[in-house]
């Protein structure tokens, strides 16, 4: 698999994220209402946005997979969901810390965004048991893509429903004043968001590279040991356990 500029991207990620966090601590002003703890916003919100966008990207990749039947897109969709779920864990943890610091509780049921995210996260967690429950590779890929498309349509719907259900009584960073965030906070936030987006992309690339080299290794092993060389074909194993069967 050929990745464009494989070395530049991680460095760009490190630089942007470092710059972002430097801005968070030395440039962005402390929030008038919440004080220092509001700075977790620069970590929590970009993580959440990247995770949700990642789920949508996975849905688009799943559509491409279903339309064209190229299993490469299934692997991409799988990796997108995988990385987004990992970011999702971080979102829930940072969200809980923020909620604890601002409102005194680890989880707040009338904070719509937090609740929506939990539901979406739970839904995407079922992606793994679904994949593992279907043995036939080709069918597994197809069903996983159908799931990714369905869940992708679910994400915005869920946010609408949860938001309508709650009364917005809690302080929201984007709405603390009439004009929204002050410019210094906006700049910091956007740099952090860009850094997190780059991090997502880097992790996806690394995971894809790891998957393809693991599959190649498996194929070489099988070629050396001489049993069913043809079976693996040239495609990447969409499943982590699939490629390491011989080890």
């Amino acid at each position: 698999m050929n990745f464009r500029s494989p070395r530049i991207l991680p460095w760009l990620t490190v630089v942007t994220l470092t710059a972002g966090f430097a801005l968070v601590f030395f440039f962005a002003p402390n929030d008038a209402d919440q004080g220092f703890i509001q700075k977790i916003f620069y970590l929590h919100v970009p993580l959440a946005i990247c995770a949700l966008v990642g789920f949508m990207v996975a849905a688009v990749q799943a559509i491409i997979h279903l339309r064209g039947g190229d299993s490469k897109w299934d692997v991409r969709s799988y990796v997108s969901i995988h990385i987004s779920i990992i970011l999702g864990v971080a979102v829930l943890i940072t969200g809980a810390i923020w909620a604890r610091a601002s409102w005194g509780k680890w989880f707040v049921w009338d904070e719509p965004t937090l609740v929506s995210f939990l539901i979406v996260f739970l839904l995407y967690c079922t992606y793994y048991p679904l994949r593992y429950a279907i043995e036939d590779r080709e069918r597994q890929a197809r069903y996983a893509s159908v799931f990714a498309v369905t869940a992708g349509a679910f994400v915005p719907l869920n946010f609408i429903a949860v938001r309508l259900a709650e009364t917005l009584v809690h302080p929201r960073v984007f709405a603390t004043s009439d004009s929204g965030l002050p410019p210094k906070m906006w700049i910091t936030f956007l740099v952090c968001l860009a850094g997190m987006g780059l991090l997502w992309e880097t992790l996806v690339r690394f995971e894809l590279a790891a998957k393809s080299s693991r599959a190649r290794l498996g194929r070489l092993r099988r070629a050396l040991e001489g049993d069913d060389v043809g079976v693996a074909g040239s495609r990447i194993a969409p499943l982590a356990h699939g490629a390491t069967e011989t080890s």
Binding site: Y143, A161, V162
Partner: protein, 222 residues
């Protein structure tokens, strides 16, 4: 259209002859009401508690039917027949959505009066509640048919279907409970936010109807 009618007729006839799903669902609902009576230690319910008990019961009873709706297709080769026949796969999907919706309506015709009899002080809210439940049924049936056909071909299908379904049904529960709560309120029904919630339910039904229509063929081809 012909295939749709044939599959729907076949499923309804099978259900009439074997009585496999609906009596089980009704019995399940009745038992769940009894469990809630003791679990909540309440002899009468109103407002959000009434809406929650009724909707949670309908939702879990629906899972029973959703788990079963494709079993005969798989075990007796219905999928292969649909694949072999020169018909559109979506006819199967549409038929199964209708079957599930009909099961749910029949279930509610039994369970809702029973619920009113056991827990409600006044039946005034039941007429507008019927509209909410009809929208819920459509949503449950659509997403149920979709998830069920994913789960049926997996190893642990009884596990996978509820696992996928429950998070997907959260918006239905939110909207239906939001609409039903003022209808079942203690002081008589009110229509607080009724239109908004019906709109959310309609949006849900339409979106997942379209998603099901778009992806269903991929679940059939083998």
């Amino acid at each position: 259209m012909n295939a749709f009618r044939t599959i729907l007729g076949k499923d309804l006839r099978t259900e009439l002859r074997t009585l496999e799903s609906i009596p089980a669902m009704a019995l399940f609902a009745a038992t769940t009401f009894v469990l809630f009576r003791f679990g909540l230690d309440r002899t009468s319910l109103e407002g959000s508690l009434a809406a929650g008990v009724l909707l949670a019961t309908v939702l879990f009873a629906a899972i029973l039917a959703i788990n079963r709706v494709f079993v005969s297709e798989r075990e007796q080769g219905g999928f292969d027949v649909v694949r072999l026949a020169p018909v559109d796969g979506t006819a199967l999907f549409a038929a199964k959505v209708c079957v599930l919706a009909i099961y749910l309506v029949v279930l509610e015709l039994i369970a809702v009066p029973l619920f009113a009899l056991l827990f409600l002080d006044s039946a005034a809210g039941l007429a507008p509640l019927a509209l909410v439940l009809a929208m819920v049924d459509l949503g449950l049936a659509t997403i149920g048919a979709l998830v069920s056909s994913i789960a049926i071909n997996s190893r642990a299908r009884d596990l996978i279907a509820p696992l996928l379904l429950l998070p997907l049904l959260v918006p239905v529960m939110i909207a239906a409970a939001g609409a039903a709560e003022p209808l079942l309120a203690a002081g008589g029904p009110s229509y607080d936010g009724f239109g908004k919630w019906i709109a959310v339910l309609a949006l849900y039904d339409v979106v997942f109807g379209l998603v099901g229509y778009a992806v269903y063929d991929f679940l059939l081809e083998d």
